[in-house]
């Protein structure tokens, strides 16, 4: 018996604040197709929102607002892997000024860690890929 082929859904969108809600809506649709509980779907929605928000913030700091975010969701068995890849430039403190309240710095990353089973931050050329895995049940 061969293993079922993974299903992939991709969304490319501008790296701008008004589109983060679009990413949340899309991931809600993808996660709802799997065996996740209502609470788990909400966790995924929040984690993806936070990952996109981080990309948007770095794009603003690095003046890369005209770049894109690519969100790739891979459904494989009970596991959903979501990659949020941006072209928002380097994530180094030396660049630009944060528009974010200093109080919320780090909160987004903390939330992602608490909401998904695995998270990896992978520097890529021109940007960053945040890879998150959530397993149903």
């Amino acid at each position: 018996m061969t293993a079922a082929k993974a299903h992939i859904v991709e969304l490319r969108m501008p790296c701008q604040p008004e589109y983060v809600g679009v990413a949340r809506l899309a991931i809600l649709g993808v996660a709802s197709r799997m065996r996740f509980s209502y609470d788990e779907v909400e966790d995924i929605r929040l984690a993806v929102g936070e990952a996109c928000t981080n990309s948007v913030e770095w794009a603003r700091r690095n003046a890369r607002q005209d770049s894109d975010i690519l969100i790739r969701s891979t459904m494989e068995g009970d596991a959903l892997t979501i990659e949020v890849e941006d072209q928002a430039g380097p994530r180094t403190e030396a660049t630009g000024q944060s528009s974010r309240d200093p109080e919320s710095e780090g909160l987004g990353a903390l939330l992602i860690t608490l909401l998904v089973d695995e998270v990896r931050v992978i520097p890529r050329e021109g940007g960053t890929c945040v890879q998150m895995v959530k397993r149903a049940g």
């Binding site: 929040l46 929102g49 909160l107 987004g108 903390l110």
Partner: protein, 118 residues
């Protein structure tokens, strides 16, 4: 995506009522309203999240910033949040311990009245 914000200053306790999703796109409007109340000399404000169905770290950041500034003048930011989903964001980040969170406006007023008489 609908987002509404309404500031009420006719009561003893000025209130910001929010509706919809509070995120990186809409949180700046909340910040602006909070700063306006701070500039107006408010020491205690209520933020009503009853009709909010989504709140992320940018929304939390604005609320924390507001609370910090209010506490500097010995004031407070009181939250109304009956939605368990939104409340969970405060709980998993531990912020439910620094904010006074109530299920309803009546509950918040009852607590304030209790404090005054006690």
């Amino acid at each position: 995506m609908n987002f509404k914000i309404n500031t009420r200053t006719d009561d003893d306790l000025p209130a910001i009522e929010l509706e919809g999703e509070v995120d990186v796109y809409t949180a700046p409007q909340l910040k602006q309203q909070m700063l306006a109340l701070l500039d107006g000399g408010a020491t205690e404000i209520m933020v009503d999240l009853t009709k909010v169905d989504y709140l992320d770290s940018t929304g939390l950041g604005v609320l924390i910033g507001g609370l910090k500034r209010m506490r500097e003048r010995e004031g407070n930011v009181v939250l109304i949040c009956p939605n368990q989903r939104v409340r969970r964001v405060f709980e998993i980040t531990g912020l439910d311990k620094i904010f006074d969170i109530f299920n309803s406006e009546a509950e918040a007023h009852a607590q304030a009245a209790g404090k005054e008489s006690g």
